[in-house]
């Protein structure tokens, strides 16, 4: 009897908790459905659940169903074609190319962005003077504010601004480079060459996101007690050693979350790619899955096929998340039962 209710939360069964069962009328299994309880359930359980079912799960199911049809998207008629759309997708060079480009983004963008963000965050929090209080470099507060600026600009505006900056004839980048005497950049099309289009696009996305993730990491690092750093310093650890052996292990959960979050964004990346290279870039080298999906649905009027692409995008994203979790655990992340 006394054990009931205490097995939750992975606590050892024989441990008595202060919130254990109390004798008295409240022990009865049935409780009265008072107005208070009913309204509580409706507001805090029913409403969110209904919203979730209607606006999240229902569209998922619909898209899943349409992916098995040849629906054109503009008439109510459709035929069930089974998995034909998926078979076609696997053999569609345009889509496999787009998947490849998205995967490149999904691998490179999170790694580069988070590496830079982490370095900046460390500089701003613990990179300062080697004696006295643990603090960041001089002017840390200023850098912290400035580096968030790009994140305040909407993605589409970032794309359009950078498109102008990278303009071959009148852009800032080529203006500066030719001004420095590098004449080979006269009219150089950063977004128009196969070798530079993708790196330039990645650069723009990274530029837009570094500030935000830096702030996220700063908040996490601030949560680490200063005593740990002070103790490490007394033991003779330098800044690099402290970053690698103390900061990183203690904020790895934040890094993992950030990795998944930005990874999902990078696998979509529609806004940035559409603003920078609406036609998919030279030799379709920057065409991503979501762009190909949009094109298939609205330009080619194949909504069934496009829905199948949507399903594949969802699967790719799930695989990505699973990979991040796996890598984190293999690399020594916390396990399920550990305190978190």
């Amino acid at each position: 009897m006394t054990l009931s209710g205490s097995v939750i939360d992975g606590q050892p069964p024989n441990q008595t908790t202060p919130t254990g069962p109390v004798p008295g009328p409240r022990r009865g299994r049935r409780r009265k459905w008072t107005l208070d309880r009913i309204s509580f359930f409706i507001v805090f359980l029913g409403l969110p659940l209904a919203l979730f079912l209607i606006f999240v799960i229902n569209p998922f199911i619909q898209a899943g169903y349409y992916s098995l049809t040849n629906w054109s998207g503009f008439s109510p008629e459709q035929e069930f074609v089974g998995l034909q759309n998926f078979i076609d997708l696997a053999q569609d060079p345009r889509f496999t190319n787009a998947v490849g480009n998205s995967v490149v983004l999904g691998l490179v963008v999170p790694f580069v962005t988070l590496t830079i963000a982490l370095i900046f965050a460390i500089l701003i929090t613990i990179g300062g003077a080697g004696r006295g209080q643990i603090r960041g470099v001089k002017g840390a507060g200023f850098y912290r504010v400035v580096s968030l600026f790009p994140y305040v600009i909407p993605g589409i505006a970032i794309g359009l601004i950078w498109r102008l900056i990278l303009d071959p004839s009148s852009g800032l980048v080529n203006g500066v480079l030719t001004g420095l005497g590098l004449d080979q950049f006269e009219s150089f099309a950063w977004l128009g060459n196969v070798t530079t289009a993708m790196p330039a696009s990645i650069f723009v996305i990274v530029w837009g996101f570094v500030g935000f993730y830096m702030l996220l990491f700063i908040a996490a690092i601030k949560g680490i007690p200063a005593e740990i750093y002070e103790a490490a310093r007394l033991d003779g650890a330098g800044r690099a050693r402290m970053s690698w052996s103390i900061t990183l292990p203690l904020i790895r959960d934040n890094v993992q979350t950030a990795y998944i979050y930005i990874g999902i964004m990078a696998l979509d990346a529609y806004v940035y790619m559409q603003a920078l290279n609406p036609q998919g870039g030279p030799d379709s080298s920057t065409l991503v899955m979501s762009q190909q999906l949009f094109r298939t649905a609205f330009a080619e009027s194949k909504f069934g096929y496009a829905s199948a692409m949507g399903v594949v995008i969802a699967l790719v994203t799930l695989v990505f998340a699973a990979l991040v979790f796996t890598v984190n655990r293999l690399a020594g992340g916390k396990d399920e039962g550990g305190a978190s």
Binding site: D167, S284, A297, A299, E300, G310, D335, G337
Partner: protein
């Protein structure tokens, strides 16, 4: 170190990660899911299908009911929407109590897709622009507009008798006139006549002359051509025009009917080689594949860094605010390959654009009535005067072209061409443009050879020909 820190992931943790992601995933499939939001499949009600009966009369040939609000969704592109509002005002005058609600849109397909599925489309749509709906997707949901053409206009003349020849053919599908293309477009190569006069240049009639002009321009540090990344296929249009002029209908039909090796025809290869020569000689302004297309066009119309620009006649209106003072824009028919092309040196690529459609599930009488008013003399003249482009209605442009040299040269080109007017639709019919763009960008910036260009364009044609799920349109 806690030993537990090194445990491997198990099924549960990986799955949990997946589920967390799934919950935060909506973005990934938003596109797919919002597209399907519209109406359910069971929804077969006819929306505005059952027309509230109105009397048919000479003033009201389609029997539009009294006190109707006409719902018109108009592509808000180079021509804006005010020309439809002009016709709407006339409708409000001639049909007391009725009015028109003109809704501008730049994304016709995305905006109207749910309404088509839900059975409540607008009464009149200008299905134009990059985001337009593919015709093969909605063909059987559209009204046959032959009765609009056979109706009298506001002046009492049958509309069919007031139109340019052949303007209805491209939108006729097996006797069904699915759309009326309102604006007449002349394709050609455009230039600044004042700049040419200043330098004593004459506009080229053949590709050889064009290359000579390129050399002359280079001496003055000017380029012959330039392009923008979204508009690289304007040069494909130019190449096809030159090739059709050179080789005649045979060339056109091979392309239109997606024949094997159609891009390898002699006439097309000849034009490609001439273009490649211009690319290799540095006659194209470099950097086009990274330049936004209106920025590139301004390098021609405003800063005059290059001389010739192949385009449709919308170019004057499109660049109106970015054309330098005294530019005096004029057009020529696309350069021929030799001095004696099969269709004659004056043959011209011209067709009508801005396809207006009347969906069957809307209030068709209202849609047709508004269209009838637009095709009447008053509205057509207003369009020509304000947009500096002719509609498919004849004789709406005065000899001075409202002071526009480009408009005058369009009329001149049309009358010089006489009956040798041609057009081709395969790029739009099969939605090839987005795939062809990157290929042309690479060709124009010099990184592709003529052989690469040919084989990659042929690959697109072949893929579509072999894809049985795509309906083919037989052209003759």
């Amino acid at each position: 170190m806690n030993a537990k820190l090194t445990t491997t992931p198990d099924r549960r943790t990986v799955l949990r990660g997946g589920i967390i992601t799934a919950a935060s995933l909506p973005l990934g499939v938003t596109l797919a899911s919002c597209a399907t939001g519209g109406g359910g499949e069971e929804e077969t009600t006819d929306g505005g299908g059952e027309e509230p009966g109105g009397e048919t009369s000479a003033d009201n040939p389609f029997g539009m009911a009294e006190n109707t609000t006409v719902d018109a969704v108009i592509f808000d592109g180079g021509y804006g929407v005010d020309y439809v509002e002009f016709a709407a005002d006339i409708l409000a005058e001639t049909h007391e109590g009725s009015s028109v609600e003109v809704s501008p849109s730049t994304q016709i397909a995305t905006e109207l897709q749910p309404r088509f599925v839900g059975g409540n489309p607008p009464d009149l749509v200008d299905n134009s622009g990059a985001g337009s709906i593919g015709f093969n997707a909605i063909l059987d949901q559209l009204e046959d507009l032959n009765d609009v053409i056979d109706a009298p206009n506001l002046e009492g003349t049958t509309i069919r008798d007031t139109l340019y020849d052949g303007v209805l053919a491209p939108s006729t599908y097996e006797d069904k006139l699915a759309a009326i293309n309102y604006v007449l477009t002349v394709y050609g190569v455009w230039y600044s006549s004042s700049l040419f006069e200043e330098n004593g240049w004459t506009p080229p009639t053949t590709w050889d002359e064009a290359l000579e002009l390129g050399a002359a321009a280079k001496e003055q540090d000017l380029y012959l051509f330039g392009w923008g990344t979204e508009a690289a296929t304007y040069y494909q249009t130019l190449a096809i025009e030159s090739a059709i002029k050179e080789g005649g209908d045979e060339v056109r039909l091979a392309l239109e009917n997606l024949e094997a090796d159609c891009w390898s025809q002699d006439a097309i290869q000849g034009v490609f080689s001439a273009m490649k020569e211009a690319v290799d000689a540095g006659y194209f302004k470099p950097g086009g594949s990274g330049t936004q297309f209106t920025a590139a066009q301004a390098q021609w119309s405003n800063t005059q860094e290059f001389l010739l620009y192949p385009s449709g006649s919308w170019i004057e209106n499109e660049m109106r605010d970015q054309t330098t003072e005294g530019f005096e824009m004029k057009g020529i028919s696309s350069m021929s390959l030799t001095s004696s092309p099969a269709l004659g040196a004056d043959a011209l690529h011209s067709t009508a654009g801005e396809p207006f459609i009347v969906p069957s599930d809307g209030n068709t009488a209202a849609g047709k009535e508004l269209l009838r008013i637009m095709l009447s003399k008053e509205a057509a003249e207003n369009f020509a005067a304000t947009k500096l482009a002719p509609t498919i209605v004849r004789d709406t442009v005065p000899a001075d072209g409202f002071g526009s040299t480009a408009l005058v040269s369009q009329t001149d080109l049309l009358s010089a061409a006489g009956e040798s007017i041609f057009t081709f639709n395969f790029v739009n019919t099969y939605g090839m443009n987005s795939e062809q763009l990157p290929i042309w960008n690479s060709f124009l910036d010099g990184s592709k050879s003529v052989a690469d260009l040919t084989s990659e364009l042929q690959a697109i044609t072949d893929r579509i020909r072999e894809d049985d799920t795509i309906d083919k349109v037989e052209v003759s």
